[in-house]
Amino acid sequence: MITKRIIPCLDVRDGRVVKGVNFLDVNDVSSPITLAKYYSENGADELVFYDITASFEGRQLFTNILTEVASQIFIPLTVGGGINTVDDFDRVLKCGADKVSVNSGAIRDPGLIPAAAKKYGDQCVVLSVDVRRVDGKFTVFAKGGRENTGIDALEWIRQGVENGAGEIVLNSIDTDGVKEGFDLEMLAAVCDIVDVPVIASGGAGCIEDFTRLFTQVPKVDAGLAASIFHFGEVSIHDLKEKLLGDGINVRL
């Protein structure tokens, strides 16, 4: 059986991992290469890199780093941040990315997902969505969660998959940063309407949050988190041992 995936996410700005980490056994705590290697050797099933750089120089630095990561780490790599055109897909795929994640770019240009899916295949296109409840309705937010687009999230996701998105990263703004668990209600609603893999993001605070995620929303394929891994609160290996003990199939 296919395993549930555990995916650490690294935010990169000007060539360094933002927020850093505090593992005892990693010296250069903000080097994307060191960290990527550490995670890949310690059970990560996939890595996500978000380029949160604004400048041209920063973007150059990011692609250089991506190339270096991809030449040393042999698990799937997803890249997001600043993906607005098919040329942006091309730029990161050439550096060794396997999948490209689009968010605000797809809102600005509804033609981006179909064009990229046609050129690189559905499996390459990840639709990342930041969602918050507004008057009880799941609503899409843009620009890193700062701007209410007024778009109905379930309709947006359904349409994205129809247009060729091969995977969904669902980031709940309501649970993000709170560390009280994933947004199970929102995830279940999305899993009900799409048949592509859904990755849960936002809210992981402890190992049990992942157990609850995979047992209560069994259609979810993967859990993504950043700070709980970076700060060593949860080691991926311990997490997977626990999940396996709870009858959830993971790769050890």
């Binding site: 059986m1 296919i2 395993t3 995936r5 890949s40 099933d45 190339t67 991809a70 030449s71 040393q72 042999f74 698990i75 799937p76 795929l93 050439k94 550096c95 060794g96 396997d98 295949g121 559905d122 499996q123 091969g166 995977e167 048949d195 592509v196 893999p197 394929d221 993967a222 790769r251």
Partner: protein
């Protein structure tokens, strides 16, 4: 030297990097002469069967792959590259493959139970057929080890040549081989340490 065949299909960066990482020299090339000079061949590929088969033929690389493999040169097809090794593919019509391994490539939809998502994307376990000796590719790999899959079609009607299967609601061909011709449906270059061991084993065939 290993020739990674470049016929305009897919991203060859990771494949080339993975050979460099395990200390094996590899070149990415679409040059028939260079391919013939190498002692091992990798046939990669992503996308649709018919489109890839046409591109391979248009670049006149199908014949060099067939000729060199007939001479006994180890050949490894990966993902769609593996599927092209079979007689035919039934993706958007019927298309001829290279005919190096008997069998046909068919859609997973309709074969796997309806609640299983297609494409089959993610890490899944390898199981080896009990009635055959272990493939040379798996000499340093254990049964149950996980490898990374991304595909919607799979090789069928090829039981005598299957060297590993994976479980996805039903048994799916994970790899097949016919003498010196090997194919993996999964991506060894994306399968972490296990994948690198498989690539290394191919270099030692």
């Amino acid at each position: 030297m290993i020739a990674i065949i470049d016929y305009g299909v897919g991203n060859l960066f990771s494949l080339k990097s993975s050979f460099a990482y395990i200390g094996e020299e590899a070149i990415v090339t679409g040059d028939r002469k260079k391919i013939a000079e190498c002692d091992r061949i990798i046939l990669p590929g992503v996308g649709a069967f018919g489109d890839a088969a046409n591109k391979l033929r248009a670049a006149e690389l199908d014949q060099v792959v067939i000729q060199e493999s007939k001479k006994g040169k180890p050949l490894l097809g990966i993902c769609l590259g593996m599927q092209l090794l079979f007689d035919k593919g039934l993706e958007y019509g019927e298309h001829a493959g290279l005919g190096l391994i008997p069998g046909a490539v068919v859609p997973m939809r309709g074969v796997v139970p309806a609640e299983y998502k297609v494409p089959h994307i993610g890490w899944n376990a390898l199981y080896f057929p009990e009635d055959k000796p272990r493939s040379a590719l798996y000499k340093n790999v254990r049964e149950g080890d996980h490898v990374y899959f991304v595909h919607s079609y799979y090789a069928d009607r090829c039981d005598p040549w299957v060297s590993a299967v994976t479980e996805y609601g039903t048994k799916i061909t994970a790899s097949a081989e016919n003498g010196n011709v090997f194919g993996t449906q999964f991506h060894p270059e994306k399968s972490g340490a296990v994948g690198l061991k498989i690539l290394k084993a191919f270099c030692e065939v």
